[in-house]
Amino acid sequence: MVPFEYYVILSLLLFVIGLAGALFRRNLIILLASLEIIMNALIVLFAAISYHTKDISGYLIVFFLIGMAAAEAGVGLTLAVLIYKKLKKVYVDEINFFRG
């Protein structure tokens, strides 16, 4: 049986990877993917906690999170495609409408 700490470490690793992606990468698709990774870090953590404490509520949150992540990915990718179609750009530092 895998110890609980391993799950936490895995989750942390995923979170840091996703965070690094969100902070350092400039490609729009990669940014979205990084967000998905952060989300997955959470899902793993919730599933582990639920398994560890023998409490079903964590699993419920996991299901909701997976559904939400799917929807969010759909919306995000659609927007990314539209932005690409409109501007022919995928690098976020080139897309700065809101520059103050």
Partner: protein, 656 residues
């Protein structure tokens, strides 16, 4: 007292309500629907409503003659503590006489305006305003308390403002309207204070309660700035300030001559017959208060006398026909106040009544001339008139009647009332009565002179306006204008017959009718021979004036410029209207504008207000120029900020 003979009805009477409110409804409906639907038929509703209103006034007159007066509240308007003000009506001899006069003249002038204002783009507006004016005036005279009087007082001022500035695209007209309104504000400020003082001392604003409680303050004094001031005098003075503004008495008279910028029917109705007499009406209504203070009576008498004399000296130097008549109005209003100031309130009201007719007739006659000459650059200028007798016979005859009436020729309305004033002044118990009589006598002669000056200038000699009319000859006005002229001229002859004094075999019914409200003036010993002598003197004064005018303006026209060139100083002084406008310009207008332009505009506006407004904008800009650096538009940075925010939040939560 004969007051007991009146039966007072305290319940609602529809006729009393409809007298003022019919013109009001007509006005509102005309204002709303006039522009789109009535257009050149806008006059129908106001004229009909005025006619009904007039008929109801006559029926009320018969009620009052039969000893039935009304005094009732329609509803409570303001109730606060001990203050209670209702929208109420009081129909007694005084107010019923006023409503008959106002509605009859207003009706005729409405009809006249159909011709005079025909084709004007603001036709519907004119009829709406003038009906609204009639409503306000009727509310003023019918009210049974001071606050409603004040409401009507302000509303007539407002309508006067609308109508003076009726041709608002003309700069001079809109200026004159503003002047009238602002000068009246000065007087009305005093009037409002007077009402407050009245409430403060008596605790009520209803006339009947005021009269009942007035003896309570007969001996009370108030100390202002070290002087002991008689309370009745204080209240009377403050109220009289309002009367000075509204009735254009010195020193607040300057607005009335300028008000002639309005259409002529307006001048006839508002600035001759009705609104400007509101001051006299108010003084008569509160005569008990004025009579309590010796000084107040002296003030009323002398303000009236000064105005009377001053206006009569200015009038002969003016060339604008309407201005001359306006100064004559000032002068006649002065007569009314003189009558009030010697305690002869009923006679003052009698002169108000006759004056309304002959002065309206003079104005409408002038309007008829102006209408005929309206192609000229300045149709009011008497220098372009002349010889109009041949072209405009009806206007000529009616104008002649009015001129004779105002000059005090026996048999016409003006004779009886003016003569009564002079007689009552002479026999007055007040010591200034004789002085007032002398001024009145001199002015009577001057009145005849300047009235016949414009009469001879306009109707005799050769027509001098051929060039300005491009060869056209003037023509008589349409029937819709001449018929009201004829009807009013009947009033200008016969209205005086209602009050023929006893020594001429009359019953002085008019004065007796009003004296039940206004009280009979106390006189010294009345000598009948003296009375005849006074009458003869005043007639002679009038004839002298007419003769002089004939001499100067018909017989030997070379005399016309003799005075003005001989006494250039005096002439200029009179021509510039005693420099009142210049004085006010120097003392009030310029300092006010200076204050506005420098202190308020430069200092307060530029430094305080502008700096505050600009400063707040600049502060916001300074803040934003710092924060805008974070607003890069690049998603990665935002992610960093989110992380930063999260870290700070966690630190705050866990390190606390």
């Amino acid at each position: 007292m004969s007051e007991a003979s009146f039966q007072v009805i305290n319940t609602f009477d529809l006729r009393v309500f409809l007298v003022p409110f019919l013109p009001f409804f007509a006005s509102i409906i005309t204002l709303i629907f006039g522009k789109k639907y009535f257009r050149e038929k806008s006059h129908i509703l106001p004229v009909i409503s005025l006619f009904l209103s007039f008929s109801l006034s006559i029926s009320l007159l018969f009620d009052v003659l039969n000893g039935k007066t009304y005094n009732f509240d329609l509803y409570s308007w303001i109730v606060a503590g001990s203050l209670k003000v209702g929208l109420g009506f009081l129909v007694d001899p005084l107010s019923v006489m006023m409503i008959c006069m106002v509605t009859s003249l207003s009706f005729l002038i409405h009809v006249y305006s159909i011709g005079y204002m025909g084709g004007d783009p603001g036709y519907y507006r004119f009829f709406s305003y003038i009906s609204l004016f009639t409503f306000s005036m009727l509310m003023l005279v019918l009210s049974n308390n001071l606050v409603q009087l004040y409401l009507g007082w302000e509303a007539v001022g407002l309508c006067s403002y609308f109508l003076i500035g009726f041709w608002y695209e003309k700069k001079s007209a809109s200026d004159a309207a503003k002047k009238a309104f602002i000068v009246n504000r000065v007087g009305d400020f005093g009037f409002a204070l007077g009402i407050f003082a009245m409430f403060y001392y008596l605790g009520t604003l209803y006339y009947n309660e005021i009269f009942a409680k007035l003896p309570l303050i007969a001996e009370s004094y108030i100390s202002i700035g070290g002087y002991e001031i008689h309370v009745p005098f204080l209240i009377a003075f403050l109220l009289f300030c309002g009367a000075m503004g509204k009735s254009a008495q010195v020193p607040l008279h300057v607005w009335l001559p300028d008000a002639m910028e309005g259409p002529t029917p307006v001048s006839a109705l508002i600035h001759a017959a009705t609104m400007v007499t509101a001051g006299v009406f108010m003084v008569s209504r509160l005569h008990a208060l004025f009579e309590m203070s010796y000084h107040a009576m002296a003030m009323v008498a002398f303000i009236g006398a000064i105005t009377c004399f001053m206006a009569a000296t200015i009038a002969p130097t003016q060339f604008d026909i309407k201005r001359v008549i306006a100064y004559s109005t000032l002068s006649q209003l002065g007569y009314m106040f003189m009558a009030c100031g010697v305690g002869a309130f009923a006679v003052g009201m009698f002169h108000l009544f006759t004056h309304a007719y002959f002065k309206a007739l003079l104005f409408l006659g002038a309007g008829s001339i102006i209408h005929a000459l309206h192609h000229a650059q300045d149709p009011n200028d008497i220098r372009i008139m002349g010889g109009l007798r041949r072209y405009m016979p009806i206007t000529f005859w009616t104008f002649l009647i009015a001129s004779l009436s105002i000059s005090g020729i026996p048999g016409l309305a003006g004779f009886f009332s003016k003569d009564e004033i002079l007689a009552y002044a002479y026999f007055s118990k007040y010591p200034w009565g004789k002085i007032i009589w002398l001024i009145g006598l001199v002015v009577a002669s001057m009145t005849a002179f300047y009235t016949f000056r414009i009469f001879f200038k306009a109707f005799f000699g050769e027509f001098r306006g051929k060039e300005v009319l491009h060869g056209h000859t003037p023509h008589e006005s349409p029937k819709v204008m001449t018929i009201p002229l004829i009807i009013i001229s009947i009033g200008a002859i016969f209205s005086g017959w209602l009050g023929i004094p006893e020594i001429l075999g009359g019953g002085a019914h008019f004065q007796r009718f009003l004296e039940s409200v206004l009280g009979h003036p106390e006189l010294l010993h009345v000598d009948h021979t003296m009375e005849y002598l006074l009458m003869a003197l005043s007639v002679l004064a009038g004839l002298l004036g007419i003769f002089l005018a004939y001499l100067v303006y018909v017989k030997t026209p070379s005399l016309e410029t003799a005075f003005s060139s001989r006494f250039k100083r005096i002439y200029t002084f009179l021509y510039r209207k005693w420099y009142f406008d210049e004085l006010y310009d120097l003392v009030i207008v310029r300092p006010t504008l200076f204050l506005a332009r420098t202190v308020v505009n430069l200092i307060l506006d530029t430094f305080v207000i502008d700096q505050t407004v600009n400063g707040s904008a600049k502060t916001a800009e300074a803040f934003s120029s710092f924060f805008r650096r974070f607003h890069t538009g690049i998603v990665n940075y935002y992610n960093w900020f989110i992380l930063l925010g999260l870290v700070i939040y966690l630190l705050l939560v866990y390190l606390k």
